[in-house]
Subunit: 207 residues, 2 copies
DNA sequence: GAGGATCGTTCGTCAAGGCGAACGAAACGA
DNA sequence: TCGTTTCGTTCGCCTTGACGAACGATCCTC
């Protein structure tokens, strides 16, 4: 991984973890951490000093970590994971190849259920790519509640204009233009426009 | 760009979390680790001394960790996760739904090579699913030309506000709010804002 | 109650993590 | 060529994690 992702993902841990759990390699994956740190930093196009500054650690420390020397504390690694926008688990867990199966016949059939909610499919996922991109146009009124999708699904929303309450039904977040949110698509979630002319970009990932 | 991310991640949460970006729990979850350690140990019905012995660490150390004091190194936590048969991620991440929010203006801003172009990484891709989501903020002026990425890469752009010329360098297309374009990322492409305050959502896929 | 065994915490010591500063290497420009 | 800037590594110093031993508390049995 890069990193991240998890956005979903991996979420967690869970996810990941899951798997990983049980049999972990006896040795702590310091080398893997070193690799991940450097890869993610380069990926972001940042210098060692810059990342260290943002994470609030010494660049000498980061240098040692990237070279595989050292055994970082949880706080140090956490700060780096936050700065690099990578899930903590992903830094530590050896990136295992995950084979995912997309079952035949699966597909998110999408239709606007409510008049005050319109989603336009911009890019549909080919058989093996698993992401759909929607442009969502919504007006204040009924919220659009979605039943959970397949396990592991993740949704990303970037609000373009207006205001909206988005996220898990339990705990929605108010978004303003430019705000971004990601949440597990396999739990009940909601999209409720708070202003007329609310637009958003929705990226759905299925696994 | 790419980056990673997790944006979503879960988060980072998952772990990681997030990153800097967003606000994950800014603080390292030492309290959560403490709780998890004790819960898992009790679940296994083992004494503190026994777990310490199996993990090869001092029981005093484990005692402190379970009390929330201390900031364990990766090796120490790893040894405990193996002994308790719990994924490392699970120890660190509180097993909760991960919702990640990146507010406008937050996030890892990619510095733009040009002053009039800023891309913010919202979600980065995991190792095998590769997609990065960026919020692009651009001002009229120099165009932002990108060198080709890996073969097979595809970019999707949804314009939120303003106007922009987007697409292959040879044949860019003028986008208005709500417009969408997709083009091969492995050919030279360009993003040129035509109005001040132009925002767009960029989804990169690599293969 | 005294003795023993087990539990988890606290204390003193030592090694290692983390830091700032200095250093060499490489890339520009004058 | 020299000076400047930026990169990443290396070098002492100090703080802190980790250890082992001792300690009080609890729960037994005799």
């Amino acid at each position: 991984m890069d990193a991240g992702d998890d956005a979903n993902g991996n979420g967690g841990a869970s996810g990941t973890g899951g798997a990983g759990v049980s049999r972990q390699p006896g040795r702590a994956p310091l080398a893997a951490i070193a690799e991940s740190l450097q890869r993610e930093r380069r990926r972001a196009g940042l210098s060692l000093a810059e990342v260290a500054r943002r994470a609030g650690i010494a660049k000498s420390t980061l240098s040692q970590l990237e070279s595989g020397t050292g055994n970082p504390s949880v706080e140090t690694l956490w700060a780096l994971s936050v700065t690099l926008n990578v899930s903590f688990a992903q830094l530590v867990d050896p990136p295992r190849p995950r084979v995912r199966v997309v079952r035949a016949g699966e597909g998110v059939a999408f239709a606007a259920e409510h008049a005050d909610y319109v989603a336009t499919l911009l890019a549909s996922s080919p058989p093996h790519a698993r992401r759909d991109i929607f442009l969502v146009s919504a007006e204040p009124g009924t919220a659009r509640e979605s039943d959970p999708h397949e396990p592991g699904a993740i949704e990303h929303v970037v609000l373009s204009t207006g205001r909206a309450l988005v996220g898990l039904t339990d705990d929605p977040v108010e978004l303003r233009p430019g705000d971004y949110i990601a949440y597990p698509g396999d739990e009940p979630h909601v999209f409720r426009a708070l202003e007329p002319g609310t637009f958003a970009v929705l990226v759905q990932e299925h696994h």
